[in-house]
């Protein structure tokens, strides 16, 4: 059923549809309405779940570790500082192989306090072992919640789905909310092989020597890579059942492109418009939407970007002293390509600064006009 809802509301609906059993969350702008909405859904009896109103995000994720190990589908949401506070526990949850789903509203990291869209928070968690999905629209957000559980419960790794602060979290869009029976048919109940079971008492996550730790981590890595095989299958099944198409990347008009611009998050919607605009001008440009960031879809990136002469990468995030993280990783992947594109890393939109169609057009033109990038990275829109 189609409704006009905000991104946070979409998440809450996705959580309801997945019959999540335990939620624990701590409020932080701009995630707060997820938590509020879920409270009301539970209070209205629309969802049978336990909601632990924890006293910090670190505790939120710790509670998830508990409930997920007990074998119950678990969900939390946070943003920015909260995600950073959870960092230790994110490592733990992934290492414990728990299929937790976290929705992170991408918000800038302080100081100073900045509550607007910025991907630095989630990209800085890229080493934790979590699967990361970057969403462009409220529909995608809702759909991603459902697909994330399916993926997580298969590969036994937690999934973080992210979307921009305010641009999605607090902006209304049309979202087709499926019926819960339809979702039930797609996402069966969570039946873990190993859980806290009195009939089969085991110890989870204990002391491990150098003798065995190495292999445990190898297995984790191997299983993470399995997402690259399995997720497209999940997306295909989702397409069949719900009619909407997703993948680890989305290619937009890339077939004969001479330049591909890589985006993630809401900038993608803006870039779509600009690509169409520039195509009308006769420029052979295309867009690759970066959807799955972890595990790194090496084959797909090589496939899409490998033979292209110019690749522009827009990062709404920054690692001081390096630049944008997506660009850095794409470069690393493309190192192994037979033909290496010229890469134009661009840092835009930090802290919620608006990225307009004109900005994107300017960036693409800059790349088209220059054989090599002038600045690495280019800070588009820097007050000089």
């Amino acid at each position: 059923m189609k409704q006009v809802i905000k991104g946070n509301f979409a998440v809450a609906q996705g959580v309801r549809l997945c019959r999540v059993g335990v939620i624990s969350a701590y409020p932080i702008t701009p995630q707060t309405t997820i938590v509020e909405e879920l409270s009301e859904i539970c209070a209205r009896g629309e969802m049978d779940a336990k909601f632990i109103k924890v006293e910090s995000e670190h505790s939120a994720m710790a509670a998830m570790v508990g409930s997920s190990t007990a074998g119950v589908r678990s969900f939390t949401a946070t943003s920015s500082q909260g995600l950073l506070l959870m960092h230790e526990v994110l490592h733990w949850a992934a290492g414990a192989r728990l299929p937790i789903v976290l929705s992170n509203v991408n918000r800038a990291v302080g100081p100073g306090w900045n509550i607007w869209a910025d991907q630095t928070d989630s990209v800085s968690q890229r080493d934790t072992g979590w699967v990361q999905i970057y969403c462009e629209s409220n529909q995608e957000v809702l759909d991603s919640v459902i697909m994330s559980y399916k993926l997580a419960e298969k590969i036994l790794l937690p999934v973080m789905l992210t979307y921009d602060a305010f641009f999605l979290s607090h902006t209304s869009e049309i979202v087709d909310i499926p019926d819960i029976e339809e979702v039930d048919a797609f996402l069966p109940p969570y039946q873990p092989e190993f859980r806290l079971d009195l009939d089969n008492p085991r110890m989870f996550g204990g002391l491990i020597s150098p003798e065995y730790y190495y292999e445990q981590r190898y297995i984790m890595h191997k299983d993470a890579l399995e997402a690259l095989e399995y997720y497209p299958m999940v997306c295909e099944e989702f397409h069949e059942k719900f009619g909407r198409e997703y993948d680890v990347v989305e290619e937009y008009r890339t077939d004969d492109a001479e330049l591909i611009i890589v985006t993630a998050g809401t900038i993608t919607s803006v870039t779509r418009i600009v690509v169409d605009r520039l195509r009308e001008q006769g420029k052979n440009v295309g867009m690759m939407k970066l959807r799955m960031f972890r595990p790194v879809p090496v084959e797909r990136w090589l496939d899409v970007l490998g033979g292209i002469p110019k690749v522009v990468v827009m990062d709404r995030n920054i690692t001081a002293g390096l630049g944008g993280v997506f660009a850095s990783e794409i470069q690393a992947v493309l190192y192994n390509s037979e033909t290496r594109p010229v890469i134009y890393p661009v840092v835009v939109g930090l802290g919620g600064r608006d990225v307009t169609p004109d900005d994107v057009e300017g960036i693409i033109n800059y790349a088209l006009e220059n054989d090599k990038p002038k600045d690495v990275p280019l800070f588009w829109g820097l007050k000089q």
Partner: protein, 614 residues
Amino acid sequence: MKGIVLMTMKKRSESAKAYEFKTWRDFTPMNISVGTMLHNMTGSWRFIKPIYEDKVPACQNACPAGNDIEGWIKLLQKGEYDKAYWHLKREQPFPAILGRICFKFCETVCNRKQLDSFVGINELERFVGDRVDLSTPHPDLPDYNGKSLAVVGSGPAGMSTAYYGRLLGLRVTMFEALPEMGGILRVGIPAYRLPREILAAEFDGLKNMGIELMPNIAVGKDITLNGLRSDYNYIFLGTGVHESAKLNLEGEDESDRIMSGLGMLKKVALGEEVNLGKRVTIIGGGNTAIDAARTAVRLGSKVTVIYRRSETEMPAHPGEVEEAREEGVEFRFLAAPENIKINKDGSIERLVCCEMELGPPDESGRRRPVKKEGALFEVETDSILIAIGEIPAFDFLKDVVKTENNLVVVNEGMQVETIDDGRAKIFGGGDIIDLPHTVVHAVAAGKKAAIAMDCDRKGADFSEVFQKIATGDGRALSFSKYMGWMPVNPVRQNNTKVVDSEKIVYDYFMKAPQVEKQVLDAGVRKGSFDTYCKTFDEDQAQREAARCMHCGRCTECDNCLIFCPDVSVLVRGEGQFGYAIDYDYCKGCGICFTECPRNAITMIDEEIPIQVDD
């Protein structure tokens, strides 16, 4: 290993599996456990280990007979009164007697004193003795081994030798000079302390064991010692001390109102008439003096006891002194007789005494009393009883037996030196040898002599044997150990380690008042020779027995089981006693040892091999 222990250890070794992951494919995806840590035998960390080892409690150690007090108290608590009786008899054959008159060395060292007060062991012994028909012979009498024993003197030493001698298979005959059997028990201890019936029943018991009783035969007069030597393989001399020491004052022998305390008691015991008059003065401070004093009270006299040292130095048992006081006996300390003035008709005109004061200690370690200059005083009295010490009469032993300082000399094996001409070997014990003059010492000596005879018969070296069967500090020896009998606890025994109060964990015992000795009121009892102490009833006995802390002996209190951090104490179960240590895992921390309330566990070096028993 049996029972629960076997089951547990079997289950543990079955679960003790070490896994080996050879390739990454052997791992589970999640970090979860697949087995127990039972393959980790933490026992290899030890450098000391615990063993269950019963030891000698302080009471048993202090008892000259080595009475296994803890053992029969344990049986008493279980309600197994018959078993308690026969267990007690292993080391001390006459509980009904000693349970009335023993000096009670055990009670003076009882570890419970540090908590509240000593356990009424004597009362409990009497309880055990009084429940049984004393004429019952020992249920397991062995066959005669062909050797014979003549016991001269039917006092406690002789009774004990006869009893143990019979248990060792000897054919025993007891000779007693007096018409009644019992020696000092019959003629020295007053009837109110030891009823005649009890003594008679004990002798019935001895007779029913096959021991021949021959009263009215004085060895040395009616038959000769040498004669006995030809007729018997072994002779035991237990003739005791029936002569009294003299004051050596003028007039001492000139009146029939002056007699020895012992002599007076003997007369009363044999039913002869004794005329003490209204006022009696007794010289002396030992148990004889007190027995004489309380007997005189019962004959209607007013009694004063005069003793040359202070009350604390009195050899008499403090309990007896207290009871005497209650009965109206007066005491005058630090005074000694100076001279006696006798009237022409034989009555006593006056007794002059001198005050004493305590000077430096003498050979006994006690301070020597010294006359105070010019401190004389007069005592008006109708009779004087002298109870300053007993001495043996050795006429009949002349030329046969060596004596020194008025005592028969015996070697370590209780044997008297004789010309070894293949005829009977002579042993001696009781008051005639160098022993404190208590009944329990005499009984212990008899036991020792009987064992020595058995060693002689078997050709065994008594001192070697003695090493093996000595109890605690070696004052006493264990007949049970000699015979190889099982102790009450089927647990490893260490017969030389003594558990004193320092080894008891008092935190684990709750105070409980001593069940009071049931005595008749002084006013009532002093008028009669009937027994004045009532034996505990079952409830009283159980309550008092519950105060026994069972020092050094396991009571299955479960402390070790509860406190072991490594779950390495296993219960034997299935009718078996006690516990087993799972040495595969025991780390030797010593907590079980420290928390055992009664020191029934010992920590030994890990290097020492022990038999992990079945």
